[in-house]
Amino acid sequence: MLRLISLLILLALPASAAEEIVLGLSQDEVAITATFEGSEILVFGAIRRDAQPPDGLLGVIVTVAGPDTPLVVRRKERRLGIWVNVDDVKIDAAPSFYAVASNAPLGKILRPSEDLHNRISIPQVVREVGTNVLDSRSFSAALMRIREHDGLYQTLEGAVDVSRETLFETRITMPSNLTEGSYRARIFLTRDGNVVDNYEVAIPVKKVGMERWLFNLAHERAVLYGLMSLAIAVAAGWLASAAFGLIRR
């Protein structure tokens, strides 16, 4: 609430641009703990302007993107009666997580040229590289379909609430199977489909505590980690046997 008040104070100050975004986030980072079950980030802000709101349809688009990773999409085909991977397409970069929320259908508040330039909608953030497969389009479509089904790619049209053409807010739900890294939140302000302002902020997503310690150990002291895992296994096996021996006596 305090943040909202300070935002309102900021609004009163004179500004140079016609319309500008002032932003707040409910949390600065996402900590993955042992009981992590996904996270919800509240993105809220205000539009600062020094004159009366100009004419034209107002659009507010909020995107949250996970780190980009290269990947391979494979397609199965029937060969000799069994289904095997035949063709594959390398995807140059695709975010591990991507959510795009807007106050109205993207087609109404965003021109295709602006979408292409700013890479806002999901098809624009999945980039494919040169391939010898003819229908490479269907591979990137499959990638989007699978990730949308898993809740990793979300198109949330109408999820941004705008009140009095000034205040806006939306909630982005992040699933529990998040990849670590620096997430990027972007907010676009559009008038009649043209981007008039944008704002960008990083949200670090990282493992903490026990999770962090185990992850580091597994990657930096692999031998020790392996021996530790085995010791736990042997000890557990012996304990169970000893415990059952006692019960039977």
Binding site: A34, T35, P70, V84, L143, M210, A218, S229, V234
Partner: protein, 304 residues
Amino acid sequence: MQIYLPIAEISVNVFLLFGLGGLVGILSGMFGVGGGFLMTPLLFFIGIPPAVAVATGSNQIVASSVSGLLAHLKRKTVDLRMGSVLLVGGLLGAAMGIAIFNHLRALGQVDLLVQLCYVIFLGTIGALMFIESVRALQRAKKPGARKTRRKHGWVSTLPFKMKFRVSGLYISVIPPLAVGFFVGILAGIMGVGGGFIMVPAMIYLLGMPTKVVIGTSLFQIIFVATFTTLLHAITNETVDVVLALFLLIGGVIGAQFGTRIGLKMKAEQLRVLLAILVLAVCFKLGLDLLIKPAEVYSIATGGV
């Protein structure tokens, strides 16, 4: 209750993991199989990445096998000498199997190879075991049926004979070494302990008594699984200790129950049940290959 797994990078239900571990543990204790051929596909099914599932599965097998082996040691149903001979062959075979696996991964299509291996070996072994043990059950029902002594034929002509007192055998070390080696290769490729191949091989090829086979198989599996776990932890860094912990708590308890159930049952009944289980897994995996998958596309991340 959900828990986030640090290496698998996914959040799963704790009780689901206990249940999976317990189920596989019971089977492990009953049949002397590590349960890897069940655990690995089950972990895939709940969404654990394949590399993590294979590596963590082998760690879990160590735990349930130790638990089961200790129960068998108390009953003196372990042929340590036979187990050691099998183990020598097994470790050599596992190293070879992992080399083959890595070579094929470089060529691609390793998933297909693993699946085909499962279907072929589970199918063959399951069918043979099923037929044999049903016949044995029928024989046992007829009163006065004579017990046929198993003949070893050419096996008995091989040199380097050794006395295996617990098994009541006096045979050459070459067949057990070869069995261990062959099972080791498959274990390396399929990412399992190899018990489901080892158990029938010991019964039908080496002619060991069923009661001794299970404890001996567990003894050998512990070392092969330890070897593969370490190798996975060091080269791929894919052992998830949190996942393993929850699986093995269920697993070790299950193994104790399984061992007791197994000792109360007749050897032929055990074999029929194991055969049915093996055939069921084979059938499921075979269907996956034959039926058009719901999603023909799949995503692979990382440097594949």
